[in-house]
Structures are given as structure tokens and as C-alpha cells.
């Protein structure tokens, strides 16, 4: 039996989300052992296992109090005997009780901790996806794009929420309530430990959530939480916002599930519930991303990182000095200029929104899967996160700033010719004596009208322009005291990553569409004639 939660400090945390993970979590005693064998097991074995589990779950769920109850002990003794044969090393009730106490089973039952951190029914996850309208493994690329399951009439959508395990309840998070916003970022930031070796952990701010969760037309029912019934503690969260996406010419309303704003496991029940809510609003498709591979990615992009603050990044082991150079040389190589280079570059203002919206729409024609944004949405994405406007921007940064958007104004015509934007999402650095926060900027959207002139391709003028434009973004990010500037291999990014000294990260991001079939889109690699990137024109927060 793998020993789950031994030490206390992080315990409460790592599990928060997992508690929302429906039935699996409550199966307590026989975790961690059987999975390895699953591959070779006959189907009937897994169904009997499930039966056993639900029995355990039932026992566990009826428990109260601090002492490990006799029924549970008896049950485990019985299970162990059945599993291992009667002649297994003596298992007496007292041993079992002690083992269970050590495992803090009672904490689990009381919602304080969870069983087996990495507990995941390996095949269970895939079984869930087999029931969902997503392209299944082994399927050939479709000839025609389209839905997988016809859109349900709203009255045919299940009207009542999906059942949660006993002692848990659904809630809708009100993002306008500072107290509830705090609950969400506490859940996501503080109580969020993937594993003990994690060196970095996303750190959310109220401003970030405001920006990410409240675009024009957002639905508050799409910010779904799970609470412990007794103490109302928030233990899981999933969220989405409405977006209109064009996928190879088809314009559809989508639910956009934030990759970072959801519990660590896309627990099937959370997915089902958010799908239900979304269906109730008449939306039948979704776009979401994940670092892991589940059925079935429509594209995969790699993270790239442009180091800015070399000594700190080396110090916290975000990057390393290559064998063939010194830190001194590395600092010199990654040094950026003190001021941006493009004439007419300035921070976006309200008066630019219309022109930016137009430029954005035209530029995004270059890609296969892109968001269609109204002027209001452009305003929200690029202006609403500028921070406290009463405060001066000091070294390119205002208090509470989440997004940075700069435009290039033609010095003569005063038309907006280019823009770029990036957003801030710092990470906590875990257990470091000197540093506790990694300031990370993420490249968001950009556009340049050089794309529309003759010869404006990626080998020629456009590439040159983007190197300058994103080069200026790096300069501003560095001045604003970001430690690193991140980007993915989407849009036209691949053409400037190398010139601007981005390095390949160890993270991949898979893109998924729910209830929509389309052939794979170019991501890390080009597909057929397409260049790498290029397929994906959506940046997910």
C-alpha cells in the first residue's frame, strides 16, 4: 500500500481539488496497488473492482468521529484476506487500525487530506473520455469538420446538477465578491501542490481572476465550485468563459475552459457539470488545454522561455549555465536594450480599440483556429488589465497591472500599424532561501500590418518586423522587472523564437476541442504544408 499523506503542512492542500474528484477518492483502503496491473486485466476484473470500491466508499462515507471505526478496520482485514489469500502474513485488526491511523484516514474522511496524491485510475481517465463527444484514439482524421453529437435542445439538457459524493455540494462562485475571489485564488495558489518536488507554482491574484473570468458576456454559472457541506470550504473549481471561435472557417460559440483556473484533475464530474451548465446556455462546443495527453489533441504546442533576469533564473534553477560558457557571458548574451526601438510605440489607450480590433481580425486570418472578438472583447482583453490608472506607470508597470498592450502608431498617418500584448502570471518559488516569486510574462496576442504588404511573409519583411516588435515586448518586460518571458509555438511565434533567444521549455500544451471534429492543426510541428505554429491562433489563459 503506498503511503499517502504522512506529513502535514501541505496536506490540506494538495488535495483540495481531488476531493471533488467524485467516487474515486473515497475508496480509501485499496489504493495505489492495483493500477499497475490494469493493463493486463480482463474487463470483468475492473468491474468487480469498481463494485468493491463503491462498497468501501459506502463504508467510508458513513463514518464520523476521530477514531478509525471498527467497521472500516474489519472491512479492510476482510479485503486484504480476500485479495492475498488466507495464508498471507498475519493481518490482525490492530495492525490495520494502526496503518489506517498513520495514513490519516480520518483526515481524508473529514475532508482535510486526500488519499494517495498521485492516485489516478489510469484507465479510468480514459474510460471517462470514451464516453465523451471527443475524437477517440485511433480515429482517422475527419474529412469534414463538424459536431460529434448534435446540439441538444435546451429543454433536453439535464435540469438538475450531477450528484456529488455525500458531504459535498455545488456552488456558483461570484467573482464580483472579493471574498469569493480570494477563496478561488487561495484554492488555486496556496492549496495547490502537484507534487512534493514542484519548484514553481502559479500564483494568482484577484486582478488576474477579474480579468480572466469576466470578459464581456461572461456567465456566472460557468464559474463552478465544490464546497464541503459542513464547513463550506471551497475544494474544487472549474471555470469557463464564452468565446466565439473560428475553426477552419466554421464560427461557433465555445466554452473556453481556463487551463489554470480549474482543479488539478479535470474531475469527470466537474467536466460533466460545467458541460451541463454550458449546454443550458445553448453552447455545445468547448476548447480547453492540458499539459497531459488525453483523447485527443487537435494540436500540441511547446513552451519557450526567454530568460531576462539571468542570475535569478540560475539561482532558482529555472535555467542553467551551459557547459560551454560562463554566467558572465550568459548575462551579456541575454541583455536587452534599455528602451524599445520601434518609432511610434506607445501604450494602448481607449481611442485605439477600434483600430486594434480591425487589425487583430485581419491578422488572425493567417491561422486556422482563432477567436473572433468584438470591440468590447478587444477592450477587455487589452485594456481592462492595465492596473490602477490613477497611479503613474513606473518603469512600465502600474500597481495591480495584469496586461501590457503596446501599439505602434505610424508617425505620419497616426494609424495603428502593429500591436503586441503580454500578461503577468507569476509563480511562487517553493523552498528557496532567497527568492519567493518568479515574475513571468506570457506573450498574448499581437499583429502587424506588414503581413498585408507584398513580400510580407515569414521569410521576409514580416519576420523582420515581428522580431523588432516582440523584441520591444522583451525590452518592456525586462524594464517592468519580469524574470522570464514565455511563449508557445503558436501563431507566428516560431519565426522569431530563435532570433530573440527563446529556449525550448520542458512543458507542452495540448489543445482540445469538445464535441467538434477537425483535422490536426499545426503546433509544435508543421502538418502537411503548414509551417509549425500557424494552425493555432488562440492563446488560452
Amino acid at each position: 500500500m503506498s503511503s499517502p499523506s504522512q506529513t502535514a503542512p501541505n496536506q490540506d492542500t494538495r488535495d483540495t481539488a481531488q476531493e471533488g474528484d467524485q467516487e474515486n477518492n473515497f475508496s480509501g483502503s485499496d489504493h495505489g496497488r492495483a493500477d499497475g496491473d490494469a493493463a493486463a486485466k480482463a474487463p470483468q476484473a475492473s468491474s468487480s473492482k469498481r463494485k468493491k470500491k463503491s462498497k468501501v466508499a459506502k463504508v467510508l462515507n458513513t463514518l464520523r468521529g476521530n477514531e478509525v471505526p471498527q467497521t472500516l478496520v474489519d472491512h479492510v482485514v476482510e479485503e486484504v484476506a480476500a485479495e492475498q489469500g488466507a495464508n498471507a502474513p498475519a493481518i490482525d485488526a490492530e495492525t490495520v487500525r494502526q496503518a489506517l491511523e498513520k495514513m490519516k484516514v480520518m483526515d481524508v474522511l473529514k475532508g482535510k487530506a486526500g488519499v494517495a496524491v498521485r492516485e489516478k485510475k489510469s484507465m479510468g481517465e480514459h474510460k471517462f473520455w470514451m464516453t465523451q463527444p471527443v475524437p477517440q484514439p485511433g480515429e482517422e482524421a475527419p474529412i469534414e469538420d463538424g459536431y460529434i453529437e448534435p446540439t441538444k435542445a435546451i429543454e433536453d439538457v439535464r435540469q438538475e446538477p450531477y450528484p456529488l459524493p455525500k458531504d459535498f455540494e455545488w456552488c456558483v462562485l461570484d467573482i464580483n465578491d472579493p471574498k469569493q475571489i480570494k477563496e478561488v485564488y487561495d484554492l488555486l495558489s496556496l492549496n495547490y501542490v502537484e507534487d512534493d518536488e514542484a519548484a514553481f507554482r502559479f500564483q494568482y491574484s484577484a486582478e488576474f481572476l477579474e480579468w480572466a473570468l469576466k470578459p464581456p458576456g461572461y456567465c456566472k454559472e460557468w464559474h463552478i465550485g465544490v464546497r464541503v457541506s459542513s464547513n463550506k470550504k471551497l475544494v474544487a473549481f472549474i471555470s469557463g468563459v464564452p468565446t466565439t471561435l473560428r475553426v477552419r472557417g466554421n464560427e461557433i460559440n465555445y466554452l473556453c475552459v481556463h487551463k489554470k483556473l480549474r482543479s488539478k484533475r479535470l474531475a469527470p464530474v466537474l467536466i460533466k457539470e460545467v458541460t451541463r451548465q454550458v449546454n443550458l446556455s445553448g453552447v455545445a462546443q468547448a476548447i480547453y488545454t492540458a499539459g497531459v495527453v488525453i483523447p485527443t489533441p487537435v494540436s500540441t504546442c511547446r513552451y519557450y522561455h526567454r530568460s531576462l533576469n539571468i542570475p535569478k533564473l540560475i539561482d532558482v534553477k529555472f535555467t542553467y549555465v551551459p557547459r560551454n560558457m560562463t554566467l558572465a557571458r550568459m548575462i551579456r548574451i541575454f541583455k536587452t536594450d534599455a528602451a524599445p526601438s520601434l518609432p511610434g510605440l506607445r501604450e494602448i489607450e481607449e481611442r485605439h480599440v477600434g483600430e486594434v480590433a480591425d487589425l487583430f481580425a485581419r491578422y488572425m486570418q493567417r491561422f486556422d483556429m482563432v477567436p473572433i472578438m468584438t470591440v468590447d472583447e478587444i477592450q477587455h482583453q487589452f485594456i481592462s488589465g492595465r492596473g490602477d490608472m490613477d497611479q503613474p506607470s513606473n518603469n512600465y508597470r502600474r500597481p495591480k497591472q495584469v496586461t501590457w498592450t503596446y501599439i505602434v502608431e505610424d508617425p505620419e498617418t497616426h494609424r495603428v500599424t502593429d500591436f503586441f500584448s503580454f500578461y503577468s502570471l507569476p509563480s511562487t518559488i517553493i523552498n528557496h532561501p532567497k527568492h519567493n516569486l518568479l515574475e513571468a510574462a506570457y506573450l498574448f496576442y499581437y499583429a502587424s500590418d506588414v503581413a498585408f504588404v507584398p513580400g510580407g511573409d515569414l521569410d521576409g519583411k514580416l519576420k523582420k518586423r515581428l522580431v523588432q516588435l516582440i523584441g520591444d515586448a522583451l525590452i518592456i518586460a525586462n524594464q517592468a522587472k519580469f524574470d522570464v518571458f514565455n511563449s508557445l509555438t503558436l501563431m507566428d511565434n516560431v519565426c522569431f523564437l530563435e532570433d530573440l533567444k527563446f529556449g525550448a521549455g520542458d512543458g507542452l500544451l495540448n489543445f482540445y476541442l469538445y464535441n467538434w471534429r477537425t483535422a490536426p492543426l499545426a503546433g509544435v510541428k508543421g502538418i502537411n504544408d503548414g509551417e509549425p505554429g500557424k494552425g493555432v491562433g488562440v492563446v488560452m489563459l
Binding site: 496491473d37 480482463a42 507534487d195 514542484a198 554566467l327
Partner: protein, 249 residues
């Protein structure tokens, strides 16, 4: 060495776990699959004692695993191929979409995680596993075991004891020898910031005045890298002649 099963293996395993065809398969084949899978993903051989006669299933599984380990020894690729062949006979088809996009590219940084049932990064020290809720970072340089142990690689690794032993074994070695990139061991020790390493090298006659390919002295390297304690040591050992300049970088 840790073997990384290919995504195809995990895919085949996922397929088999729920394949209707598996119900009709003989126990012998099931056991062979089990043995191959454990051999490929857990360990070459069972790590426990052979189960007793009374535990027939356990014993049969143990035997299957052990047999896979003995048959394939270190030919893991062959074992994997065998597994995939059986899976294909049972109706599994390798995924086309995945092959085109994700899978091939994913291989280098990822491994199949049996517990999680999905591909996860194998990079140590970086939390991984959630649905994309991890922080990507630049990967550490791979530990190149094949690289010969030289004074320079030891100076970077920072184990002073090993350097002492190395110098003892190679009494004729020039401590000030430059590596293929033009650095002396002392340059590298001062740059990476290992105080005890610097002490050892100084004791063995390392020259503090030699400049690196960028025309920097060891003291300047230590200063730029922010290793104040090394600057202090250098000054104590050699006086101001080592050129610890007081200007800021």
C-alpha cells in the same frame, strides 16, 4: 538506465484494458501481456518473493513477469514490439492523429506514468501531472555520463573531495589547462560559485590572473555572478592584484 516506454505502449495498454476481445483471450496470452507490461514499466524482474502455491494467480503473474524479464533481458524494444503485436492482433490500431502531432514530439521530455495513466514529464524537480497546470521551465542539461571526468567537469560539479582525489591520481596534470571552450578549472569554479572548489584549486597552484575567452579574470567572473564569498577569498589569497574591481556590472 531507466527505459521509457513509447506512447504507443500506453495507448495499447489503454486499449487492452477495456477491449472486448480480451475476454476471449486465453489466460496464457493475458499472462504474457501482464509479464511484458510489468517488465517494461515496473522493473526487469519481480521485486518480491515468489508468491506461495496457495496464491495461484499471484504466482502465475509473478512467473509471467519473471519469464518476460529472462526472455528479453535488456532487449526492451523487442519486448515492447511483442506487446504491441499482441495488442494489434487483439484489435488495437495505433492512433494516427496522435502520431502526426503530439506523440512523437512528446517523447523526449515525457514518460508514461502508470499511476496517472497519462504521459507526464520526467524532468525531476518540476511539479507536473495536472492538466496543464504546471510551470514549464528550461530543462537542465542532460547528465552526460559518457563525458570523461576532467578537472573542468569536476570543477563544475563542485565536489571538492573528488577534485582532490583526481589531482592526487594525476600528479603531472597542469591545473591551469584550458578546456575546449578556453576556460581553466578556476574560471569555472569561480563562475559557478563553489567556494571549497576554489580553495582546493588555489592550493594546487591555480593561476588567478589568467583571463577567460571574454577577457575576464576569475575575480571578475565571481563578482559578476554575485559570489561575494569567492571574491573575498581571492583577495585574501592574492591581494588586490587579482583585480576584483569595485565597479558594478
Amino acid at each position: 538506465m531507466k527505459y521509457t516506454p513509447s506512447p504507443a505502449l500506453s495507448e495499447a495498454a489503454a486499449y487492452l484494458s477495456s477491449a472486448p476481445s480480451l475476454a476471449k483471450v486465453s489466460n496464457t496470452t493475458k499472462l504474457e501481456l501482464y509479464g511484458l507490461y510489468k517488465y517494461l514499466t515496473a522493473a526487469p524482474l519481480p521485486q518480491t518473493l515468489r508468491p506461495s502455491l496457495f496464491d495461484m494467480t499471484g504466482r502465475a503473474k509473478w512467473d509471467a513477469w519473471s519469464s518476460a524479464g529472462k526472455t528479453f533481458a535488456d532487449r526492451r524494444a523487442d519486448a515492447e514490439q511483442r506487446y504491441l503485436n499482441i495488442a494489434q492482433e487483439l484489435g488495437w490500431a495505433p492512433s494516427l492523429v496522435a502520431k502526426d502531432t503530439a506523440q512523437e514530439e512528446i517523447l523526449p521530455g515525457e514518460v508514461w506514468d502508470e499511476e496517472l495513466g497519462m504521459n507526464v514529464s520526467r524532468s525531476p524537480g518540476l511539479g507536473r501531472g495536472g492538466m496543464g497546470t504546471f510551470v514549464s521551465a528550461l530543462p537542465p542539461p542532460g547528465d552526460d555520463d559518457t563525458e570523461a571526468q576532467t578537472l573542468h567537469t569536476l570543477a563544475i560539479q563542485g565536489d571538492a573531495t573528488k577534485v582532490i582525489q583526481y589531482l592526487a591520481r594525476n600528479p603531472l596534470l597542469d591545473v591551469n589547462q584550458r578546456d575546449e571552450f578556453g576556460y581553466t578549472a578556476l574560471h569555472l569554479a569561480c563562475d559557478r560559485g563553489n567556494l571549497s572548489m576554489v580553495e582546493v584549486l588555489i592550493k594546487h597552484g591555480a593561476d588567478p590572473l589568467m583571463k577567460d575567452p571574454d577577457d575576464l579574470t576569475v575575480a571578475e567572473l565571481a563578482q559578476i555572478a554575485g559570489h561575494g564569498e569567492i571574491c573575498t577569498l581571492l583577495q585574501k589569497s592574492y591581494g588586490s592584484s587579482v583585480g576584483v574591481v569595485q565597479k558594478t556590472q
